[in-house]
Symmetry: C2
Subunit: 210 residues, 2 copies
């Protein structure tokens, strides 16, 4: 049977969206090839055909769901906006990405846990580097314009990513310590306001007393 | 054979320190009961006897290595120091804990990954609650004294824990994006300075213009 590119691409997407839906509804990344086959109505052998193995498919899913956010992110530095606004858009975009795809985070940790030698460099280059680069550009612009004090981009990166990550990674803590059962719009907006507020005041250039 | 409490406690500690050393030297939490038996010179059956299973032993290890930090933490609120200094000691203590026991973090994530229903509440109550409680007390003291603006303790908790966690959890990113191969004293001190500096300026009460 001849398989035109179009059909192949549709099949690929069908497998990925079945996997994504399963993880989102189950709240777990622990799904089997059989689950994916059943949900998509396609053979589990197709996963092997298109992605090599389950880990390859997980990587394919990350690429698919994060592509729009990464595209938006790349456009941010060149926009005609003050660096403070760019920082706010960036933080809000990060939190929104985690919120829309709650399994992204766990999936990355799981790939690293399974095989950090293979996936460490791939995840770092494809998903972390664009974030680190854009942050560096925004920080440099802010310092040049005299609105930010100089900040180490490495520490800044760890600080922002870690904080956003924790909102979604620390669900057990949220529920048991603070009685927060779901991360709804209010929690999400509150957290963005907090993080932006603290970080923005925290890196603002000192007001000149002259 | 009679087993006095003292000998039992020594055996228990021997097993825990063998497990801790193995994880520290291998840079991985993926160790077997046989590894532990070989390293400690004791039978792997003793793990079952003292801890139930491997996960139980991991929890025992977390309790053992984190006990001194938790004790120090509990004394912090009552110390006669300004709340800003308490905040600095707290951040520096958190980073130092992760630094001294680099596997602690992974171990917690692994226990949650394996069985979040069992370990979620235990980890939250034993290790996260004391941190959240102490932070809340420091924040309240600072607000009362007029040196901090009011800050949501939940968001503050996620922010600080996430940032400190990321320094050690994001090793793959550190190496590939920033060329940082080991988290040495300089990186650790630099990160503490950054986080404390940004957060402290970020939550400082606005200077009254009167």
């Amino acid at each position: 049977m001849k398989k035109p590119n179009g059909a192949a691409s549709v099949t690929r997407k069908q497998l990925l969206s079945a996997a994504g839906e399963l993880m989102a509804t189950r709240g777990s990344t622990d799904i089997s090839l059989n689950d994916i086959a059943e949900k998509s109505g396609l053979s589990s052998a197709l996963v092997k055909y298109y992605f090599g193995n389950k880990a390859g498919m997980m990587l394919g899913l990350l690429r698919e769901v994060l592509a729009p956010s990464l595209l938006q992110l790349r456009h941010l530095p060149a926009m005609e906006l003050p660096p403070q606004t760019k920082l706010r858009i960036h933080i809000s975009g990060l939190v929104k990405s985690y919120y829309l795809h709650p399994y992204v985070n766990r999936l990355m940790h799981q790939l690293l846990y399974e095989d950090s030698e293979t996936f460490g460099p791939i995840l770092a280059e494809e998903f972390s580097r664009p974030v680190a680069d854009v942050q560096k550009m925004i920080l440099e612009e802010g310092t040049r314009l005299g609105v930010f004090r100089p900040v180490d981009p490495l520490f800044f990166y760890l600080h922002i990513i870690g904080a956003c990550d924790q909102l979604f990674h620390g669900r057990a803590q949220l529920e048991h310590l603070f009685g927060v059962k779901t991360i709804d719009d209010d929690v999400r907006r509150g957290f963005i306001d907090h993080l932006y507020g603290v970080v923005m005041s925290g890196i603002a250039a000192p007001v000149s007393s002259s």
